[in-house]
Every structure is written in C-alpha cells, then in structure tokens.
Symmetry: C2
C-alpha cells in the first residue's frame, strides 16, 4: 500500500502530483490559474507539478507561493489515443508517468491529469496495480457467473475492473456517485458488479453513508426493460446481500437523489453525463442577461464545474482525471477533489474494506 501515511500527517497536508501537460487546449497559463485557485480553495494543498519550462516560468511570474509547490521538468506528453502497448513502451519520461510514480512511491497522496483516458487507465493499472475483492465476493462472482453460464470466468485473484467515478450533485450538499464514466468502453455484467462493490465502499467513505443505495442505470424501471448487460448485472448485484440494491434508475432521475451509487457501463455513463453537462452549459452560456438569469435560476448546488474530477476506483493509489476541455476553475475543482480523496485515504481504505468483505 504505497500511499499509506499516518493519519496525523494527512490532517496537515495533502500532496497532489499534477500532470501539467494534458488537456485539449492546455496552455500553461490556464494551469497556473487552476493552481492558484486550488491553493486558495484548499489551504492544506501542496503540489508536485510536472510540466514544461514554460509552465515553470509562468508559475514564477505569477508569483505562486513557492513554499506550496515543487516543480519538476517533464516535457513529454502522451497523445490521447495512443495504444496501450505504445503508452507503456515509449513514454517513460511523460509527466503522467512521473506523477503516477510519485503516488506509487508515497511521495504524493494522489495525482491528477487532464490527459487521455486510455493512457491514464493503462498506466495507472500498470504502475499502481489493481485492487482485489475479498473471498466472499469472489465466491459470489463465481457462483453467479456459473449460474449465468459464463463458466469461463476465473477469479484472477479477485482483481477488479477499475472504473471512473464522479460525484453527481443531487441536492444542497448532497451527492451521488456514478460509475463507470469511461474507463471501459466495453463492459461485462461481472465488471458492473465490480463497479458496484467499488462504488459501495467509496460511498461509505466519501459520502459517509452507512448503507449506500445502489441502482443500475437503465431505459426503464420495469424488470423486463433494457439489454442483457443490465439484466445480468442485476443478478450479480441484487443477490449480494452486502449491497443495498434499489433497482433500475432512468436517465432523468440521475440528479434526483434516488440512489447513492449509480452503476452503468463506461460508454453509456460517459455519453449520459456529457449530455447532461451539455444542457447545463446551454443555460450558463447564452451570454449577457441570459447568463445572469441562468445563474439566478440554477439551483445553488448544480454548478456545471462541480462535475469535474472523476476518481479512478480500483487501483492502489489515488488517480483523478480532469476533463480534457475543462477551464481553469474546473481543473482547480478536480485538483481539490484529488486532495480531498487523499485526505480520506480513499484508496487504502477502500482496499481494506474490499478485503474485509463484510
């Protein structure tokens, strides 16, 4: 457990390793703005920043407090759609790699990147290693696999399929977790069960809910609705007595506090959340008076950039992904998310709970 530290240290400082190279239109200025904003929002934040000479200069010029960050040169950045094989082979000095290595060594409590989803998941699995289920859930998974005729599944030491989870605002100071948001474009029902186990433990820690309500995203709430994936996932999840399964949930109920943990495959989850963001953006981007009224109309808790920062659950360390297209406010929110998750020792606590298998 590389990132374990004394809890007293945690209270003092959260150290986040920042990949300062990723993102769609990432100029160094917007990274600097995000760093300043995040430092203001989270006083215990300390950063190890990886990036170009330009970024280093801009940080100094902007007068960012040098006692609150350390800069390390890492110019190499990884193209969004680089193949897993090439990612592992050709980018040993990339900022993303360096930031992940900081988490593995324990130097940083968490890392954050706006780089490509594929490269980030590949490298995080490789560098940090994957978490595993406890013995009861391995047995449960094998039992349901065999009942469903997926005889070929073997426990692989119970290794889980990592997934991206995000906090979804569902009311004033209330959040749900939704996953997977795109770590896996193709998922099996057993993968969705992994997501439910991960989400369940994560909700206990980060939402402070004793018995999280777990729902599966579907096209309707009736049992017969949907495709084979959700029907099989229901078998896995509903029959695990340690999970409080509350049924199928439709897209229009995501923001309505019907569930604490919303399970879906990475394709659907990504498209659905982006569609929701697209509408929220329309309300806030109409300009002039419209924009003003949009701010007055919005429920206070529904801030578009509050979505930003999905956490990769299921690896041995804290990895946060910011939208490639996020503005500096949104990137700052994701940095703070990384610091908060570190503060809760999320990854270590999750593995402990997964193993204990209650």
């Amino acid at each position: 457990m590389a990132i374990a530290k004394d809890s007293e240290n945690k209270a003092e400082r959260s150290c986040v390793a920042l990949d300062g190279t990723g993102g769609d239109h990432r100029d160094t200025r917007s990274v600097v703005d995000a760093v300043r904003f995040a430092m203001a929002m989270y006083p215990q934040l300390y950063l190890i920043i990886f990036g170009s000479n330009q970024l280093q200069d801009d940080l100094l010029k902007a007068g960012v407090d040098t006692k609150r960050y350390e800069f390390r040169l890492a110019q190499q950045s990884i193209p969004q759609d680089e193949s897993p094989r090439s990612v592992l082979k050709n980018f040993p000095h990339a900022a993303m790699v360096k930031a992940l290595e900081c988490v593995r060594s324990g130097e940083a409590d968490s890392m954050i990147s706006s780089g490509g989803t594929g490269p980030l998941v590949t490298l995080a699995r490789h560098i940090l290693g994957v978490q595993h289920l406890g013995p009861k859930r391995i047995a449960h998974k094998e039992k349901i696999c065999s009942e469903l005729g997926h005889g070929s599944w073997s426990a692989h030491g119970g290794k889980v399929r990592p997934c991206f989870a995000a906090r979804i605002p569902v009311g004033p100071n209330r959040f749900a977790l939704m996953m997977d948001l795109g770590a896996n474009a193709t998922c099996s029902a057993a993968d969705l069960y992994d997501f439910a186990c991960l989400g369940n433990e994560c909700a206990k820690i980060s939402l402070e809910v004793d018995s999280p309500r777990v729902a599966i995203l579907n096209v309707g709430t009736e049992l017969g609705k949907g495709n084979a994936l959700v029907h099989e996932a229901r078998e896995f999840i509903e029959q695990d007595r340690s999970l409080q399964y509350v049924g199928f949930i439709e897209g229009n109920r995501i923001f309505r506090d019907d569930a604490d943990v919303i399970i879906t495959d990475g394709f659907t989850g990504n498209v659905a959340l982006k569609a929701a963001e697209g509408v929220a953006d329309l309300y806030s981007s109409s300009g002039g008076m419209k924009k003003f009224f949009g701010k007055l109309a919005r429920p206070e808790w529904l801030l578009p950039w509050q979505y930003n920062g999905s956490v990769l659950l299921g690896v041995n360390g804290l990895v946060v992904k910011s939208h490639a297209s996020a503005g500096h406010e949104a990137l700052a929110v994701a940095v703070v998310e990384a610091a908060r998750a570190a503060h809760a020792s999320l990854a270590v606590n999750m593995q402990r709970r997964l193993e204990s298998d209650k």
Copy 2:
C-alpha cells in the same frame, strides 16, 4: 402504402388516431387538456380518440368541439412490459391496436400513444409492416457485413430495423434528429446503419436539409475511442457515399448543431436524452423565483417539452410515441408532431426515397 392520400387532402386536414389509455399516470382529464391544447395549436387537426367511457364523458363535459374528433370506445390497455407474444395474442381490442389499425386502413394519417415502448414497436411492426432498403444499400450492407466477418447476415428483403427518432432543438428554429431512442435495447452495427439511412431520408423531408450531416454518438471524437459497435457502425456509414458522414460526436455536443442526424443504439440514446431532460427539468422545476429566472435564462428554443414525441421510423405508417410521464402540454406537442409528420406524408415519402436508393 396504406396511408397515402392526395396531397390536397393533406393540406386540408390531418387525422390523428389517439390511444387515450397509455401513460404512467394518465388520467382522462390530462388527455382532455392535451386534446384541447393540440387543437388550438394545429387548426387542421382532426382526432379519432380511443379510450374509456370516462374519457368520452370528460371530452363532452369540457366542451371539446365534436366536429373535430370522433370518439371510439376501447377500454383495454396494454401493460408497459407485456411480452411481445402476449401483446400480439391477448389484446385485440386495445386502444393501441385500434389506433394502429386506423393508420393501416388509411382512415387516420398517423397515430399517437403514451403506452409502453415494447408493445408499441411490436404492434407497429406487425400491423403496419416494416420498410426496406433499396438494392444499392442492400448490396452495401452485405459487402460490409462480409468485410467485418459478419457473414451470417442475410438481406431479408432488405427490411430495416425500425427506430425511434426525435427532433432535438439545436438553435432558434433549428433541429437535429437523434435515433434510436429506445425501440431497440440491443443493436448491431448493421442496425445503426439502418438508423442512419432512415435518419438521412427523414432529415431531408422533415428538416429540409439536402445533404444531412450524419454523426455517430461516442465517448470521444478520435478514431480509436469507443466500443466495437461504434467502430463497426462507422465502417457501414462512412463507406456509403450517399451519406454525408461527419464523424463521432460527444454527448455534450448533441445540442450544438454539429450534425443533422445523430446515430446511437437505443439504450445509450434513451439514457442520454433522459439525462439531458433531467437537467433541463431541474432548471425549470426549482419553483418560485427560481422558476421565473429559469424561464428568462433558457434559450428560447430550448423548451423541455419540445423533446416530446418520438417518431417510429422504418414502419409503413406514422407512429408517434409520447413519454409515459409527459404532462398535457407535452402530450399536445406530440399530437401536433404526429399531425405534422402526417402532413409531410413522412412514412410514404421515406419509403419512396429508401427504394430509389440514390
């Protein structure tokens, strides 16, 4: 082509058969309100209304102009998740069946129902029959199937897979079509190609676009992003020279006028559009002053109930589905959608264009 009529008659009157029994909480009063609202919005509207004695009484009590509708008693309604086999066997007198038969016989130009998606698709396919591709597209489909190693596909006379399409507001008086929105919970890449062909012809007629821009909904715009389904669908669609394929589109760009036709499987499409609606609802449902400001903030063209009314493309007749949970305003909009589609002789014109296969 049962619903073909002289275009002069069309200009005079659109006759819509209304299944007055479906919907989540459908009380007869809300159907009556929807009928009055729709008649006010569309002066050429004439309705054949199927429903209960109660509905008949309420229509009379409300003083709805009896010259603009005919009432027929049909008490039987079909449960949302009834199996296809049972739907075909056990509900010969259901309002949904009667309304579809009106379209088949040519008595009505289109029909509308708030009933279950599954029953409606099953019955529409059975009662109206399925449309088919022209010879060029059948050959194209066979070629790509064979290239992809889906050797087992046979043309079945080129019958298409019907899908639900809706008009998505993308700007002032501008719309895109998105499909499938839930007719098929599981889709093959060849099905997505059918949707693209149907959407292309529908956009030419209903959006009046000469060469519609066709996009595939995906988790990213890069070629490597997404699952096998979208990659294979791209092969089918991009290589058909009669379609103007413009690439992958992400969920947050649905409302941004990047494409005229947005193709997705019925599971993803349903969840994504409902998620978008969920956010729009939050802005308009916060009550009191918030609600007032929400109306001022909303771009005029983005009306939540403007989404309502998806058209089932690919059957020989006009079938419109209203949300089960739609309020009376939204139901009225869907009725008007049914009348408009009838006015454009949408189904007949689409089959003519599909056959001509340009």
